[in-house]
């Protein structure tokens, strides 16, 4: 018997929220409930595959006497890490359905805005019709008045948006207090970041926080790829990544000239808000092409065990065989 907890129990299974994923060099167990990744050797992943269908006794018989010690060690490790448990009734713990559905036509949008190239109000109204839930609004000019900023943010009141990140270039004529008053005014605002200021500071006032950053994000940060060493581990992201590209799926971005794109870093656009409706543009198959470029289809990514936890913001090129390659 492997240990006391396993006494009288025939099976060892992982918790349904712990999902092993095999990579080229090693495997990873995604603990979707606790948002953690645990690296394991591929041989442990193979054992877990066997344990899905067979009892511990049967698996021991299959792998041979020489490997029983390793199996016991693996089981002890999985038990100690809280990833699995012994049971006699594995059928009572079915695996999670690998399904992802969301009702929105557009889930998240990124808008770069300068107040004078196109009107924001109809854009927000269109996003509202598309049931858009999350918005990153980037104000990339410093020649705006506080009233204009308030009006821009007010367009979102009563919309279907659930959270807004406001990233604004510092306008010398606007005080910190005014930014806080904007925060209090709009309940959908999740974060305000003011960039291109003299000093990096985080200012708290009455429980609200605004980040002031020295860096001019417009120079480099807006065009920097999302770092690969940050992992996103949650059921929503994992399930979406099984079927779609989580970076591009149901996303629309509008640059400062009103061009409608998959990503602001891309050179190609599919229309312009001054001439085309967002709804028509996002309905085009060529616009939606990258939505389906799931990580399993991307060369350089599909061999990684962490492929359902990374955010790949690179542009992609489709090959004749249906796979994609990263454009760096």
């Amino acid at each position: 018997m492997t240990n006391k907890q396993g006494a009288g129990k025939d099976y060892f299974i992982l918790y349904p929220f712990c999902i092993p994923v095999k990579g080229a060099e090693s495997s990873v167990v995604y603990n979707l409930q606790f948002g953690q990744l645990k690296e394991i050797p591929n041989s442990m992943n193979d054992i877990l595959e066997l344990l899905k269908k067979a009892t511990i006794k049967e698996v021991k018989k299959e792998i041979g006497k020489a490997s029983v010690g390793t199996l016991n060690e693996y089981l002890r490790f999985l038990l100690n890490e809280g990833l699995g448990f012994y049971t006699n009734e594995p059928e009572r713990f079915p695996r999670m359905a690998y399904a992802y559905q969301s009702p929105e036509f557009i889930k998240n949008a990124v808008i770069q805005y300068t107040f004078n190239q196109y009107p924001l109000k109809p854009v927000i109204a269109e996003l509202d019709n598309l049931l858009c839930k999350f918005l990153e609004l980037r104000i990339v000019t410093d020649t705006y008045s506080f009233d204009a900023l308030v009006a821009a943010v007010d367009y979102t009141a009563g919309s279907t948006l659930r959270a807004i990140d406001l990233i604004v270039k510092n306008a010398p004529q606007i005080s910190k207090e005014q930014y806080f008053s904007l925060y209090e005014r709009n309940k959908k605002l999740k974060a305000i970041v003011v960039y291109n200021v003299e000093e990096d500071t985080t200012v708290w006032e009455r429980g609200e926080k605004i980040d002031f950053c020295k860096e001019d994000f417009g120079v480099e940060a807006f065009n920097r790829h999302y770092p690969r060493d940050i992992f996103i581990v949650n059921p929503d992201y994992f399930m979406e990544a099984q079927q779609y590209n989580p970076y591009y799926n149901k996303k629309v971005t509008i640059d400062e000239h009103g061009n409608i794109k998959n990503c602001l870093m891309h050179p190609n656009s599919f229309g312009n808000v001054l001439r085309n409706s967002i709804e028509d543009t996002i309905g085009k198959p060529e616009f939606q092409r990258l939505w389906y470029a799931k990580h399993d289809l991307i060369e350089e990514v599909n061999m990684l065990a962490t492929r359902y936890a990374i955010h790949v913001s690179n542009n992609l090129e489709q090959r004749a065989d249906g796979f994609y390659t990263l454009i760096k």
């Binding site: 509202d128 049931l131 770092p227 979406e240 971005t253 870093m265």
Partner: protein, 73 residues
């Protein structure tokens, strides 16, 4: 063994009078706790005819943009 230091939100005199478990409660900065990052629980949605429309953050980054503190770089 190094003793773990807790940043307790309670006064020392109070801690002497309350059960020992209170000594293991510690204060943490709100921005480090994901669930508390949303400042307002509800907003409004005209389409849903809801005055208590639940706010919550997206389960993934909205864009490629991220602010990293210097020591994280």
């Amino acid at each position: 063994m190094e003793k773990k230091k807790f940043d307790t939100p309670f006064a020392r005199k109070l801690l002497e009078r309350v059960p020992i478990n209170y000594r293991f409660m510690y204060a943490n900065i709100t921005e480090h706790i994901g669930e508390l990052r949303m400042r307002e629980k509800f907003s409004r949605s005209d389409k849903h005819r809801a005055e208590q429309y639940l706010n919550y953050p997206l389960a993934k980054p909205v864009s490629n943009f991220i602010i990293r503190k210097d020591n994280d770089k």
